[in-house]
């Protein structure tokens, strides 16, 4: 009747979300070992690149994890990424701001976008889906407005109407470089830092506990003295701030701010969180699962790419593998 003591046994460990997420990742890695793209999969550089490629999605997924744990959703992360990428490019390339000023300003800007969504959701009690959908459209529009509808690149128009390239800002080069003997991309390190910060917030800070409590049972949390409104605003502000981090990375890697960047990224971020095993109903999950989800999606993408699988087959394979991963999670619930 009470399956209590069984839960802690090895059988339970095997069916825990972490184990199933790990299993899904191993499954994908196994595919990589078999279809190695002429041995490319055995080279470290392939893994380094896979990690770099997945980093922007992973950073977005970190922010999404907070929101999903409170039983919410944030559809605006892709648009906020583009908005910040554009703003960062304008500040760094055209306004010559120091990165020590531009980076905090961009993070604050992203957090403010998220906090705005969060405030509307928590104070006016409107569904997160609708509010963040509105923010998604608004932020995209704002990105296009401040960029004039064009990519903000190092190309500068001379008085005579012709175009010339300004130097790429050092901060872009720094973010898009590699460390440890060329073995790891800086964006990957930024992603790992985001995971670490998220882990601290979720597992070591009172705030994180409150986010889980709100997602698990908002009314019970409120009656236990949890500041529900403030915590929801915090969750969305964090999602906004992480979107901003992703926006900085995106801009640095493209060496420009594309107002059309990040379209559809919110769905990838949600997919990563869900494949990791964090429950869309809220209250359950964790950042470790998001890390595993990011690696699963990232490697899947890389393996398909390195084998030059045609686009149409990639879509079908991705769909099948996601469904399999989600079904693995389901069995446990």
């Amino acid at each position: 009747m009470a399956p209590s003591d069984e839960r802690t046994g090895w059988r339970a460990r095997l069916t825990s979300p972490t184990a199933t997420a790990l299993f899904a990742l191993c499954f994908v890695l196994l595919i990589g070992l078999i279809f190695s793209g002429d041995g490319a999969f055995y080279k470290w550089s392939t893994h380094r690149d896979a990690l770099r490629q997945a980093s922007v999605y992973g950073i977005l997924a970190c922010g999404m994890t907070f929101v999903i744990i409170t039983a919410g959703i944030d559809l605006s992360v892709g648009s906020v990424l583009a908005l910040v990428a554009v703003a960062f490019s304008i500040l760094s390339i055209h306004k010559d701001w120091s990165p020590w000023l531009a980076v905090p300003a961009c993070l604050a800007f992203g957090a403010a976008c998220g906090a705005t969504s969060g405030a509307v959701i928590a104070r006016l009690r409107i569904q997160p889906f609708i509010v963040t959908l509105a923010m998604m459209v608004f932020a995209r529009g704002l990105a296009k407005t401040i960029s004039g509808g064009m990519k903000v690149s190092t190309a500068m128009q001379r008085p005579d109407g012709s175009w010339a390239a300004a130097p790429v800002p050092d901060v872009f080069k720094a973010i898009d470089s590699r460390l440890l003997g060329d073995n790891i991309s800086v964006v990957s390190l930024i992603f790992i830092a985001c995971i670490a910060i998220s882990w601290i917030v979720l597992s070591r800070l009172r705030w994180g506990r409150y986010l889980y409590a709100i997602g698990g049972n908002e009314e019970a949390a409120r009656l236990s003295g949890v500041p529900v409104v403030a915590m929801k605003i915090l969750a969305y502000a964090l999602a906004g701030a992480f979107s901003a981090v992703a926006g900085l990375c995106q801009a640095a890697q493209e060496q420009q701010g594309d107002p059309e960047a990040g379209i559809g990224y919110e769905l990838t971020a949600i997919a990563i969180v869900v494949i990791g095993g964090t429950n869309l109903m809220g209250g359950r999950g964790g950042i470790g699962l998001t890390l595993l989800g990011t690696l699963t999606i990232g490697y899947l993408d890389k393996i398909l790419s390195v084998n030059a699988v045609p686009e149409a087959s990639r879509l079908m394979l991705t769909g099948v593998i996601i469904i399999v991963a989600v079904l693995l999670q389901r069995r446990k619930d």
């Binding site: 209590s4 046994g9 889980y212 698990g216 049972n217 019970a220 003295g225």
Partner: protein, 518 residues
Amino acid sequence: MYTMQAVAGPTQTDTPLLAMTAICKTFGSQEVLRDVAFDLRAGELHVLAGENGAGKSTLMRILGGVIPADHGHSHINGSEVLFRNPRDAANSGVAIIHQELSLVGSMSVADNLFLGHECSTAGWLHQSDSNQRAREVLGRVGLSIDPRSAVDSLPISSQQLVEIAKALALDAQIIVMDEPTSALSEPEVRNLFARIADLKSQGCGIIYITHRLEEIYTIADRISVLRDGALVATRDRSDLPPDELVRLLVGRNISDQAPRRSVTTNDIRLQVQHCTVRATRADVPPVVEDVSFDVRRGEILGVVGLEGSGVSELLWANFGGLANRATSQITIDGSRTRINSPRDAIDAGVALVTNDRKRTGLILGMDIVQNSTLAALPRLSPFTWLNHSAETSLASESAQQLNLRAASMRQHVSTLSGGNQQKVVLAKWMGTNPRVLLLDDPTRGVDVGAKHEIYLLMNQWSEQGRSIVFSSSEWPELLQVSDRIIVMHRGRIVASFERGAATPADLLRAAMGSTRDE
């Protein structure tokens, strides 16, 4: 205390309606049911009693086809049945009415009654036939409501009857009721019992699960007692006096009289003045209207009222739980205190145990430690940094005091029994070291042993000088535990009794608001 009579006796026949024999069930290494034999006759009400965790629910889940038994056989009307799923069970005339109702709130009563068995030809629904049939079935449970009305517009008591009607609509012969009265007021309970008597006279057999002794001795024909997975006794009601039943249930002698040593002093600890709670709709009079009362240090104040009298709202209002719907002037230990939110209340030393732990008390997906420290977290985590060892030690300390039984402190509370879940709720509030405890029906749905423990705890708290405002749906217990009782009717206090000055009948009369008229 219940005044129902004329319960039709069971019709004795040779073949019982239901016979389950040698049922065994093991989960992992835990033997949950051990060689259980259980039978039910047509026209009888068979109470299945047992503490939480004794195996009642498992037995009923096997009967309902939710899980299979490891061993054993079931016969209905003499022929063997094997249920692979709940639908098999329903087709064989078994209906289980759970404590949490399984109706679709937004759908009409008629649609709910025939859900999955709609009156239709080739997919085309016959609305008028369906409504006609619904009226007949509702008539059998004594409900005269429009079958087209939405279920969630009905009071809980009517929803319960709709659930029974749903069983009848499927021609159920065997009806299992799991604590059907836990959310009902006294008159509603009596109405339910009258309907149960009707069902019995129509030849249905009823398996009834309850924790309330009074109920058992009002309606049971036979009583079976499960303890630790084994059936320890099946007897006619008359052969099983209450003391004996309690002894069988817990396997030891306990006094079900909660001892009460009054330690009330004269210092007023909590003073509430002009408490008013608006209704959610503007055209309805306030739920609580200008209520004032005070509680002394160490006093246990009982609050009594029927469903809708505003008792719960009164407690919520003084905890800041109703936000701007409520106004109240609160004075604690002589100083005026503003309580606009639960956080204010907690900071002022007020705690609220709600009457629905799953909906408003616990975070079911969290473990025991996380739940029991949730309210005290600001104190436990300076600069918002969590201190896991401080949390664990606080939770373990509370768990020990409360005699909380769990395999591990990291167990999810959703896997605990009702009594242990309630103890987690209490642990959460002990962690905040409150001066005033507002307890809204804290013993709802917990077993006899846990109830007793909760009453002992309340005594302990009052000895520590804490003040308790306490409401309960079980009035005899409330009478034993409280130092003083106030009675509410339609949002106002209509009577007040000192300890020992009232009988349940007095309370009921006052709560029904009939003293003046009659």
